[in-house]
Assembly symmetry: C2
Homo-oligomer: 227 residues x 2
DNA sequence: ACAGGGGTGTTACCTTCGGTAACACCTGGC
DNA sequence: GCCAGGTGTTACCGAAGGTAACACCCCTGT
């Protein structure tokens, strides 16, 4: 067992390592240790570090591999020549189908964590950021928003991405309904159904377990923890 | 330096420790080490563990302290007797004002991480989950959505929370516009402006740096990484 | 033929970090 | 006087990321 050399397959080493890492992450979720991944690949740690630099590099490579498919799919959906509502539904369905296909790995999209105290402001993982940019571009190219178009487009790009991310995450976890229903509910929200729906008869109901109405202190006192 | 005992202030010990932890997190971001926090408090690790059990306990306590303000503020905003559109704007503004007031700490809301490979499905931090539940309740109580009301309400609760989270995060990081504009843009999105806006004249433009159109492979092959 | 480079692999080690004994001290109440 | 409870310490453990330093193989150029 001292010199395995080329293991018969022409597959580049890096791909084999990523496959092993993939298996481990699939099994143990992100947070899998480098040792575990190395063991799965039948090797030891330093080789992983030679190929990927550090743990973040490995995770990043893994994420990119898994995201590229979703990203191009969403991109393609965004470019389809459909009526606007149909297009929105198409994109929503594409995204949900994508995360549905690989629920475990999907975590990498949303939780790159890897404990880096360096990262500044990106709550949205890079993969999501790319999707947000695609949506921004599509909105700006296809919708007339007047003078503020750049600002509004980008806001909406982020907002829609975050919306679908959160809703998709919940849906994937609970599976409260088939995919098509989810698509409808989200498209309806984007379509202003919140504005259009009728008011319910009963007046505003006070929140059930609400704290003593310190509502008056809604102004930001400089000392309170938040707001 | 062997026996400090009560340091003059009647403040319970736990609060002092949380204050110290707060300072460190403020300075170093989450991911601050327990040693650092203990040092800031002028003590050593075991005391922290006695008070908070483990690191997650500390972070949780810290987060709760900072979130309770925001949560009650949002709850109060949701209960105000306003016209629907005004109410939505009010809630959006309340949230954005809240995270604006404490940008550093706001990370705790969105990144509790703390490297727990245990957590199953909660992409939304508990604090956000609570906000989502409040919105769900409010929607269900005030809007007539027909038979599917429970499902749609909860979907929208998650969706809106995620939307505001992502948009707010971006806004906080880039500050592309004053808060009021942001509120308008988000309320407009929720109000169906995406559906109502006019089509732009030019047809669908292909994405600029798109990959070689492997678009045909949009069906889910069982072997491809995602979608 | 032979030197050398590039790729693959190893063992052994370091540091940092979360977490845990085991022990010491002070204070107040019975 | 003594015990209980809170505060504090030093010293340690195990797991994890990360890094030398070294060994082996094979292919290629001179």
């Amino acid at each position: 067992m001292s010199a395995p050399a080329t293991p018969a397959t022409g597959e580049p080493r890096r791909e084999q390592l990523l496959n092993a890492a993939d298996r481990v992450v699939q099994r143990e979720g992100p947070g899998a240790s480098m040792n575990a991944i190395a063991a799965e690949a039948g090797i030891t740690k330093p080789i992983l570090y030679r190929h990927f630099g550090d743990r973040n590099g490995l995770i990043r490579a893994l994420t990119e591999r898994h995201t590229s498919g979703l990203l191009t799919a969403v991109r393609a959906a965004l470019a389809e020549p459909l009526e606007r509502r149909d297009l929105v539904e198409r994109v929503l369905d594409t995204y949900l189908a994508g995360i549905e296909a690989r629920p475990q790995v999907y975590r990498l999209l949303t939780h790159p964590e890897a404990g880096d105290p360096t990262g500044a402001g990106n709550a949205l993982a890079p993969a999501l950021r790319q999707i947000a940019e695609e949506i921004t571009r599509a909105v700006q190219a296809q919708v007339d928003l007047g003078a503020d178009s750049p600002l509004i487009s980008e806001t909406w790009g982020r907002a829609i991405t975050g919306m679908v991310l959160a809703a998709g995450d919940w849906w994937l976890d609970q599976r409260p309904c088939p995919r098509a229903r989810m698509v409808q509910a989200l498209a309806d929200l984007l379509w202003g159904r919140l504005a259009a729906a009728a008011e319910l008869p009963q007046a505003i109901t006070p929140p059930p377990p609400a704290a003593p109405p310190a509502v008056g202190s809604s102004e930001h006192e400089p000392d309170s923890p938040l707001v």
